[in-house]
Each structure stands twice: as C-alpha cells, then as structure tokens.
Symmetry: D2
Subunit: 113 residues, 4 copies
C-alpha cells in the first residue's frame, strides 16, 4: 500500500492541490464518488448487478479508484495509517461478531455497522 | 496492500458472509459508510473540520476503515486489482491535468471528477 | 406545501438555527440522511425491500422526513420555490423522455438523470 | 403538495415506470441525486457556497428537484403521507430540542439527527 499512497501523494503535490483538501471537502468527495459508483447499479437486482460488474469491470474499476484516491488523501492529511486503521477495525468487528456465532447469519450481519 | 486485503477476505470468509455481497449492496454500503464519515464534519467550516480531524482521529480512523473494507470487498468480488485501478486512474488524471497547467489551479481542480 | 414549509421554517427560527445553514452543510446533511434511509434496505433484494418498507413504514417515514426537512431548508435559504422547481424539472424530463418512446422502456429509463 | 405529488405520479405512470421502483433502488437514487447536489459545493467554504447557491440558483434548483422527485416516489410506493411524516418528525424533534434550551446552541444542534 505504501507505493500506491506515495503515488497519490506525488500526483497531488506536483499540482499543489493539498491546499484544497480540508477533511470535510474530502469526506464530501468520497460520498460523491461513492454515489457515482452506486449509480452503475442504480436500478438493478442483485443478479443483474453481478453481471453488470463483470461486463463493465473497467467502469467499476475507475469509480472504485476515485473513491480510493480521496480515501487515501483524507487518511494522509489526518495522519492516519490506513492499513493499520483497517486492521484495527477488523479486530473490533471480530470481537463483536465471533466466528462461531456469526457464520452465515443474516441477523448478525445486518447489525454490523 | 496484499496483506490487508487478505485479512479482509479472511474475516469475511470465516463468517461465510460473501453470500450477502452483491455489487449493488456493497456500493450502497460504501455510500452509507462515506456518509457516516461526512457526518463527523457535518456543520463545520474547513478550519473547524481540520481541528476535528486532529482531535477525533480515532473516530475518523474507524469511519475511514469502514469505507475501505467495503471498497476492498467490492474490488474482490468484481475481480479488480485495487492498487492497479488506482494507478491507472492516476495516469488518466495526469494526462487530463498536466502538471504545468494545473499547479494550484482551482478552475482545473474543480473540473476533476 | 406552503403549510409544511412554514412549519419547518418556524421550527428552525424558534431555535435560531439558520446561522448553521450554509448550502454545503445542508447538501451534506441531505446526503447523510439519504444514506440513513438507504441503510434500511442495505442488504435486501428488491422484493425484500418492498416487504421491509411495508413492515417498517414508521422508520421509513422518519428517514424520509429527515431528508425532506433539509431539502426544504436548502430551498428556503437559496430562495427556491420547491414545488415550482419540481414542476420545471418534470417538464424538462418530459421533453427528454416523450411518453410514446419511453413507456416501460428500461434503456431510456436508465439514462434518466 | 397534493398537486405536485399528482404531477410526479402522472409523469411516472404515463411511462409505466413504477415497475422499476423498489424502495432500495429509490433510496439509492435519492443518495445519488443528493451527491450531485453536494457536488455543486464540493470544494467551497461556507461563504463561497452561499455565493454559489445564489449565482447558480438554476442548477441548485434542478438538483433539489431530482432529490425531491425520488423522495415523493418512494413515499408514494410506501404509502407514506410525506407532509404528515414531516410534521410528525418536527414534533418529535421539538420534544427533543425544546426552544428554551436549544436556541442558537451549537452543541445541541450537532446532536440533532
């Protein structure tokens, strides 16, 4: 992940764009790009969405990247180690949803937030 | 990034939760978590948001992780290499926003989508 | 609609809360509440979502109201007549999607934005 | 509001589009349109957002209308009286935020959800 983060940072800094990056605007940008990703599946059933994701992998890939880039930029200006944050959250979720009680269980799953 | 992705995948598969993961529901989940992240800064000015991100780094970190986990899961079921997708998008953006014309330039920046 | 708008305005002004209402924060708030609404259906298929909406009408009703209240507040501070805006947009959509060519047509429908 | 709702319903039914309207897809659509509205203010400070809303009232008006139309359509298929829902929510909020304790108070305000 370090390499990718370094590239995102380089892209931003070469253009001197960090000045525009307050956390609220970056969080808004993550929402905006996430909605563009969702738009690809706006009216589809789960099965249709699966087919769409396979047929338009390139589009999905670009929209995913847009979300990820802003995510990396927000972590960066907030001094957050993204990989560490993900692992810490997985551990917290693991405590909340022990394997033996959660396996394939929908009701537990829908509580996960 | 491979390590982190492997941990996300392990968490999901130990609980047999991939069955709930169609791309539309995952894209919706990214939106939902992105909105919870935005909520931390809902009524703040850019400077207040910067202070909030510093003071509540733990909360920001958890919300960022939630978005990232769903992002990794969507990339995973769609067969997308997330690091590769980010680098491809940065190259596309670099072609669209050449350094010499984009440095510190707001009007270019606001066009970036 | 005038009555409802008047009540939203009265609620806000009795508490002197308009000072917090810049358009960006209100648009962010609409996103945040819209995501809470979406969360009610996060992992459901279309049919499950229909059942859920019937069984939890009270919850859906509250989340819809939250979105609507911020929508009315944004229209209000921007000097926009919401009913007029809706009718103007319907006319624009009607020109873009003539009845005879759009009836039951999915491909047209998915273009509607 | 009855008139506006009737027009939204007529637009939809003339095109036989209700078949695409499950609650999850409509909630997703509200998110998507809300994000397009937020995009108008993506990188702006509160004061810049106020100026933007005044200068681009037409654009803001269209994006607001898009959110409102899907909101009305979701209320419609869920059998929810939108004006009633708004008034019920205002009463609930009023009980939670009594005027005398909430006037101009930021800390109360930021708790309002």
């Amino acid at each position: 992940m370090h390499d990718t983060i370094a590239k995102v940072r380089k892209f931003r800094d070469e253009r001197d764009w960090q000045q525009f990056h307050d956390p609220k605007s970056l969080a808004a940008s993550i929402c905006i790009e996430a909605a563009e990703l969702l738009e690809l599946f706006q009216w589809l059933s789960p099965d249709e969405a699966r087919r769409e994701a396979a047929e338009k992998r390139e589009r999905v890939s670009e929209e995913l990247a847009d979300v990820a880039i802003y995510l990396i930029e927000l972590a960066d200006i907030a001094g957050i180690d993204l990989a560490g944050a993900i692992e810490a959250k997985l551990e917290k979720n693991a405590a909340k949803y022990p394997v033996e009680k959660s396996r394939g269980v929908w009701t537990k799953y829908t509580d996960l937030k």
